[in-house]
């Protein structure tokens, strides 16, 4: 109890509120703008946070993450162009609503749905973390190894696209993560004799190369000049009572879907909003009207991705295993600040946990204000032509990487990962598993070596014990369920119907 109050006190300190606000502000902006995601934005801001207190740093960076989920729906509704991948489903009914002259209502309802999903997601995070923690306290290196391994494999195979390519992307990510001095023996590995590689490759460079540089190239060719017809007035935002009534249950169902999908490693927010849409369509009495601009089609998915954004923190905090790519980079940020999330972190830094979690809700309140009265600001941000925007983003990426060590060599590494990311997109290989593998690869290796030492070199015994067998069982269940779903309907098919 004392820790909760301490945590609350930390999160409501003026500095932290200011950084939380800054975080959600940046998050909304990158969410609104197609062609730059929260992942790139977080890695750009990461070097700045080195000077901040770790709690403040995480409060701000997390704000960017969930803030982007609010902003992402704006472009979906107005331009039929998702601001972030998880808002793609919102295009289906959001854009038709805008064409029917109900853009304001759609913007209002997605914000409300985001707030409901986010708030309930935080409550679930608070309720479920202690349970996960109880579980995590029984973890030794053997259990960690199996949890990390299964989590990574799940992340690579559940995400959209070919499972084989996801696994390949993951394996390469683990290899890149192992570059640098070996923790146990101090022997440099794969460094080509360069001192710069001795401490390993910075996650900032990897993330900016794979997701910043590479994504920009794609957006330059695909983003045409935005055309926004409506002027969004305050009056046009107000929904009819009917809209509110119709959205209530979709929001709750969406939250439930998001809270189940969010904590699964690698499942991601896009999958949460997609499942929510499919479920809404299935339970609806008029499934044929989905896609013509009905409010149920936006309320469920928007609640789902925001609930998933919050609940993705459950395994991140309790086990140190991130639920999404973006929480993976937040985990990387915590590790850079000298914090290793997991049971020990929760025992020793409980006030920090509460400070971060309560800041989430403060951030959600800010987002409510930013997205309803100030929606006009974001709409005008969307009117900035992309060809004036992306050179600025490139400059930010360069400065962000250069500020790490003031090293030109790092810019070279950035170019390298930019090329890798570009070719991966060209060859239809998802870079998300690569980033997950990069962050978690070293942890996987460390726990594997420790567990093997304890098991006296008996590899198969690592997969024994009640916890590991339970995890294996769950793994098989989830994998079976998702691959069944994948076979029944390809990501696009149920949407087109």
């Amino acid at each position: 109890m004392e820790e909760i109050l301490n945590g609350l006190a930390i999160s409501v300190s003026l500095g932290n509120i200011a950084y939380c606000f800054f975080g959600v502000l940046v998050g909304t902006a990158v969410g609104v703008l197609p062609g730059i995601g929260s992942l790139a934005a977080i890695s750009m801001l990461l070097p700045i946070t080195f000077y901040l207190d770790p709690t403040t740093a995480i409060i701000m960076l997390a704000g960017v993450y969930y803030g982007a989920e609010y902003g992402g729906s704006t472009a979906s509704i107005l331009l039929n162009l998702p601001g972030t991948p998880s808002n793609a489903v919102t295009c289906l009914d959001g854009y038709p609503m805008a064409q029917n002259g109900r853009a304001g209502v759609a913007l209002f309802m997605t914000t409300i749905a985001s707030f409901v999903g986010g708030t309930l997601g935080i409550l679930i995070l608070v309720a479920a973390t202690p349970i996960f923690l109880e579980f995590a306290l029984m973890f030794k290196s053997k259990e960690y190894f199996v949890a990390l391994l299964l989590g990574l494999i799940m992340a690579a195979t559940v995400s959209p696209g070919s499972a084989l390519k996801g696994l390949a992307s993951l394996a390469l990510g683990i290899l890149f993560g192992l570059v640098g001095a070996d923790v146990q023996s101090g022997i440099p590995r794969f460094t080509f004799g360069r001192m710069e590689f001795f401490d390993g490759i910075s996650i900032v460079i990897v993330a900016m190369g794979l997701f910043g540089v590479a994504e920009l190239i794609w957006s330059i060719t695909s983003n045409s000049a935005p055309m926004i017809r409506d002027r969004i007035t305050m009056r046009s935002l107000l929904p009819a009572r009917e809209d509110m009534r119709k959205s209530a249950f979709p929001m709750l169902r969406g939250t439930a879907v998001g809270s189940v999908v969010g904590p699964l490693p690698g499942a991601g927010l896009a999958l949460a909003s997609f499942f929510a849409y499919v479920i809404e369509k299935r339970v609806s009495r008029y499934p044929k009207r989905f896609g013509t601009g009905i409010v149920e089609g936006i309320a469920g998915p928007e609640a789902a991705n925001n609930a998933a954004a919050q609940t993705a923190f459950i395994p991140t905090f309790a086990l140190g295993i991130p639920g999404t790519t973006t929480t993976a980079i937040l985990l990387g940020a915590m590790m850079l600040h000298g914090i290793a999330p997991g049971p020990q972190f929760m025992r020793e830094n409980l006030d920090m946990f509460w400070a971060i979690v309560s800041s989430f809700w403060i951030g959600n309140l800010f987002l409510l204000v930013l997205n309803i009265p100030f929606i006009g600001v974001w709409v005008s941000l969307l009117k900035i032509p992309y060809h004036l925007l992306y050179p600025v983003i490139i400059c930010m990426i360069c400065i962000g990487v250069y500020s790490l060590n003031s090293s030109v060599f790092d810019i070279g590494v950035l170019l390298g990962f930019g090329l890798i990311g570009y070719f991966m997109r060209l060859l239809d290989i998802s870079p998300a598993p690569m980033l997950m593998g990069f962050v978690l690869g070293p942890l996987l290796e460390e726990n594997f070596r420790r567990a093997m030492l304890l098991a006296k070199g008996d590899f198969l015994s690592l997969f024994s014990g009640p916890i590991n067998l339970t995890m294996l069982g769950l793994f098989v269940l989830v994998l079976g369920w998702t691959s069944l779903g994948r076979r029944r309907g390809d990501a696009r098919q149920p949407l087109e119907e």
Binding site: L167, A168, L175, I187, I217, I220, T221, L427
Partner: protein
Amino acid sequence: MISVDLRDLVGGIAVAMVGGAFFLAARNLPEAPAGQIGPGFVPAAVGLVALGLGLIIALRAFRTSARFPDVELRPVFAVFAAVATFGLLVKSTGLAPALIGTTTIAAMGSARSRPLAVAGLAIAVAIGCWLIFIVALGLPVQALRNPF
């Protein structure tokens, strides 16, 4: 003419090559003391997995056929050249000229960029970043430097 998914063929071979390179490099790492897992074990194992996965992807490419996607080279060159320009200039000329160069070259990637607007943007970026990163955040970089 054999049908092949060129993307998967190229991607699979690339993955296999990187995995194989790591595998070979890892085998040159020193042995571990008895009873321990050495520094080369995990990278060698993962490298081998990558090699295998790459080969499977490349072989499966023959089951379908797809063309290599069309590549628009202009934005690709512009973005990479812009980043390289930053790396080349930032030490010798300082931050502001590097940013002007980066912005200008980056802007060439889009057919919609107009000279006057780009010049204005470049100057705005240089001044804005100088204010934010050097004046406000105290980044240890010189804003302007004589390269000679």
